[in-house]
């Protein structure tokens, strides 16, 4: 073997081999993409493509890929494709193909051939061991092409032969689910195409370290692609469904407002769904303004409560606390608080807060405090990490100039930690803005509110304690996630304009926008502080 260990700087791979592997990878990627579309049933499994059904065509493609990767393996073995393979494809590959073989062997043993428990166990173990052996023992160019080739060809054959097709169903004994062809076939083709593509990518780079790098890179790129498409799918779905509702009866006109007897022209935007109350005598299009305003006040209140407290605690822990043990204790407590189920916060609010702050009535203040409690641990954790990450050199430099600890914290440590702290707040706000559970017991007043909380206008001052009161803070309201929950569970919405579903999607869309807007504010602030640290 050592005689073949000749490294080449410029790979002189035969162009046929290289073209073949590229073709296999390309075909695999197409199968992968189409399978996803089929999985979401944007393309039916029976759609006629080139005279055959889609699923059958995918099966045929898999056959090509399977046979192709196998051929690449043999070509590399016989030296027709330049390759620098290792001694073995590796233990991990072996384990993966062993498991895959076990699955295939077990399922086909039990289902297709109707073997009993002992029978399918034997067949599963046999095929699994064979696959693992075939992956581990031959040299890499065979170990990482033959098992994939066999698997992909097998899946391709099963689908091409129509053994599993769009009409196929299977209800496993003891399980109350039914697997249906239109879901199982795309799932199979996705897995098979991934394995085929991985194998072909390794062959393309001639196995060895470079081959592993190519295979891994392909899988990693596909997973980031998968993640992005999930995101796009989710957001796209909400936008498509929700936008219709939001834009109902919306319009832009030229209005005017009168200031000091002068008419000032004004672009008059009307979006009833965003600007109307949910229920009222003269409301024709029911809107969700109360819930929007409610959510915003909730977030503001929670931030005002939790952020100073959280940053203060983090400063204490990093800069003042002398006792390692105390810091650890607080850290554990904070993590515990962060993982406490949100409904528990709601219960706490109901039984502890409401009797003390609003006479047992549900209230905005109660909701703000409960969400603040939820936000607090995240702010503490992220601020703590951000402040700890500020280099000690800054603190030393400042101390050596005779600057006090607090001045150092304010003018050096906090500015340097600010981007990290704000990231934490953004994450936390994103979470609490969408929370329903902790609010259920402490905040909602009516399912379909008919008025908007007027917090700013409700402050009343007096000379006797408590000196300042705010009716709006002490009465309940509605928030976007709660509104969504309430309208879906109650099964009806007021007015004739929307169905429950339309109303729900509209609310979800607005919630998405509100959360994104909050993110936007946070990210802008973070950029501002970052820029101050870097450029100024």
């Amino acid at each position: 073997m050592s005689t073949e260990r000749q490294t080449q700087l410029v790979s002189t791979q035969s162009s046929i081999g290289s073209r073949a592997t590229v073709a296999i990878i390309g075909l695999g990627l197409v199968v992968f993409a189409v399978s996803w579309l089929a999985l979401f049933q944007w393309i039916g499994g029976e759609t006629d493509v080139l005279g055959v059904g889609l699923f059958r065509l995918l099966g045929v493609c898999l056959l090509f890929i399977g046979v192709g990767t196998g051929a690449c393996g043999f070509a590399a073995r016989s030296g027709r494709i330049a390759a620098t393979p290792r001694r073995s494809a590796g233990l991990l590959t072996g384990v993966l193909f062993g498991l895959l073989g076990f699955l295939v062997g077990g399922l086909s043993g039990a289902q297709t051939f109707g073997l009993g428990t002992a029978g399918w166990l034997v067949s599963a173990a046999g095929i699994g061991t064979a696959a693992a052996t075939a992956a581990v023992f031959p040299r890499e160019e065979l170990g990482s092409t033959i098992p994939p080739s066999v698997f992909v060809t097998f899946v391709g054959a099963v689908i091409t032969a129509g053994i599993i097709d769009a009409g196929w169903t299977w209800t496993p004994v003891d399980l109350s689910v039914t697997l249906i062809g239109p879901v199982v076939v795309p799932l199979l083709t996705i897995v098979a195409s991934l394995i085929g593509v991985w194998s072909a990518a390794k062959a393309h780079s001639g196995f060895g370290a470079r081959g592993r790098q190519s295979g891994a890179f392909l899988l990693i790129s596909l997973s980031i692609l998968g993640m992005l498409s999930v995101l796009v799918l989710l957001v796209g779905f909400i936008v498509v469904r929700g936008l219709d509702t939001v834009l109902t009866d919306a319009g832009v006109g030229i209005g005017s407002i009168t200031v000091l007897n002068i008419q000032i022209p004004w672009v008059d935007v009307q979006i009833p769904f965003l600007m109307n109350v949910t229920q009222g005598l003269f409301v024709d299009v029911n809107g969700i303004l109360p819930a929007i305003v409610g959510t915003l006040w909730l977030v503001i209140g929670a931030v005002v409560f939790a952020v100073p407290l959280g940053i203060g605690a983090a400063i204490f822990l990093t800069e003042y606390s002398e006792s390692e043990r105390f810091t650890q204790l607080v850290e554990i407590a904070t993590n515990g608080l962060w993982s406490t189920p949100s409904i528990v916060f709601g219960l706490f609010g109901l039984t502890f807060l409401l009797p003390r702050i609003s006479n047992n009535h549900r209230s905005l203040l109660g909701g703000q405090l409960v969400l603040g409690f939820m936000l607090l641990p995240l702010v503490v954790i992220t601020s703590y990490e951000a402040i700890k990450a500020v280099p000690d050199e800054f603190r030393d430099a400042s101390a050596a100039l005779g600057v006090t600890r607090w001045q150092t914290i304010r003018s050096v440590v906090l500015p340097a930690a600010m981007p990290g702290i704000i990231t934490g707040i953004i994450l936390g706000v994103g979470r609490i803005a969408g929370e329903t559970a902790p609010l259920l017991f402490v905040f909602p007043r009516s399912t379909f509110p008919s008025s908007v909380p007027n917090v700013l206008g409700s402050f009343e001052f007096s000379l006797a304690p408590p000196f300042v009161t705010n009716e709006a803070l002490l009465s309940g309201g509605s928030a976007l996630p709660y509104q969504l929950y309430a309208s879906i569970t109650s099964g009806h919405v007021p007015g004739q304009t929307f169905t429950v579903e339309q109303f729900g999607w509209g609310t979800a869309f607005v919630l998405l926008i509100v959360v994104l807007a909050l993110y936007g504010i946070g990210i802008t602030t973070r950029l501002y502080f970052q820029r101050k640290l870097q450029h100024e």
């Binding site: 002398e322 280099p391 050199e393 800054f394 030393d396 430099a397 400042s398 101390a399 050596a400 100039l401 005779g402 600057v403 006090t404 001045q407 003018s411 050096v412 500015p415 340097a416 640290l533 870097q534 450029h535 100024e536």
Partner: protein, 303 residues
């Protein structure tokens, strides 16, 4: 100051030393150098300084007097306690929770290790420049003005402007003066508002020196200020140190013997175990040291 006065000062500090001495043997240990007499006034006087990190002793009975307006170099192998000694002089060791300091350090005759010492005032008088340049992630201007602003000597904030207390001209003066002293003005005068992290390593170190000078200290402690720099930047820092000695008392730690020989007036040699083995005129140390160990160290046989 007349000769008589000076002798008196010496006598006083000797007296102080004997009263604080713990054991006889240590007194003997120091005897080879304690004869070192300099002409000039004592700025810092250290006697019987022991420093422990937890249970490890990093300095053992160090005593030395540092004359004012001169450059004192501290040399010695790695881990012998030079940085520790330096950090005792402005009590930066207070920031290390495991560190314990015993003995006495006086600054102009005033004990700095006693209750009620104002650390802020102490560190304003005893500035420090670190081994690695550590400018703040702020503009050059803000870096220089940082100390004076925090001490309230200079205020250009919004409130000060509203109250009419702002002194922006003074700030300009101070920044320019400090940067000139640190030989950096020419290079950065047109970009005072740029972030200091955009400067080169040597410029950053000079900025740190300027930042330290802006507080108007009497003593400047430098811990291997040029160890991260190239020869040209190093020679700039060396020139700078020599010129600073006109006005300031400079104590500088260095690993570079030639550097110590070039820039310092007197040199203290620490050897492993945290003891001060010899302290004398730089020329004497490098040409005719008393102790064989010092000679070995300087000629590279030991270290």
């Amino acid at each position: 100051m007349s000769d008589i006065d000076m002798k008196q000062t010496r006598a006083e500090s000797n007296e102080q030393r004997t009263t604080t001495t713990v054991g006889e043997t240590e007194e003997e240990l120091q005897s080879e150098w304690s004869a070192y007499e300099f002409d000039g006034q004592t700025k810092i006087s250290v006697s019987d300084l022991d420093v422990y990190y937890g249970s490890d002793q990093a300095l053992r009975g160090v005593s030395m007097d540092i004359p004012e307006k001169s450059v004192t170099a501290l040399i010695g192998p790695s881990g012998c306690g030079k940085s520790t000694f330096l950090r005792c002089l402005n009590r930066m060791n207070d920031r290390v929770s495991s560190a314990r300091v015993e003995g006495s350090v006086t600054l102009d005759g005033e004990e700095i290790y006693q209750d009620g010492v104002n650390l802020v005032e102490l560190r304003k008088r005893v500035g420090m420049v670190f081994q690695a340049p550590n400018p703040f992630p702020k503009s050059i201007r803000d870096n220089i003005a940082y100390g004076p602003r925090k001490h309230g000597d200079i205020d250009t904030g919004l409130l000060a402007r509203l109250l009419g207390d702002a002194n922006p001209e003074e700030e300009e003066d101070l920044i320019q003066r400090s940067l000139r002293q640190a030989a950096l003005w020419e290079e950065v005068s047109d970009r005072l508002d740029d972030n200091a992290l955009g400067l080169s390593g040597g410029q950053q170190q000079r900025l740190c020196i300027a930042r330290c000078l802006a507080v108007d200290p009497e003593i400047i402690l430098m811990d291997e200020p040029a160890s991260a720099l190239d020869p040209i930047a190093t020679s700039k820092i060396e020139d700078l140190i020599e010129s600073l000695a006109q006005e300031y008392t400079v104590v500088v730690v260095t690993h570079n013997m030639q550097q110590a020989a070039r820039i310092s007036d007197q040199t203290a040699v620490f050897l492993t175990g945290g003891e001060l083995v010899e302290y004398d005129d730089t020329d004497t140390i490098f040409e005719d040291p008393n102790s064989q160990r010092v000679e070995d160290y300087i000629t590279g046989k030991f270290g």
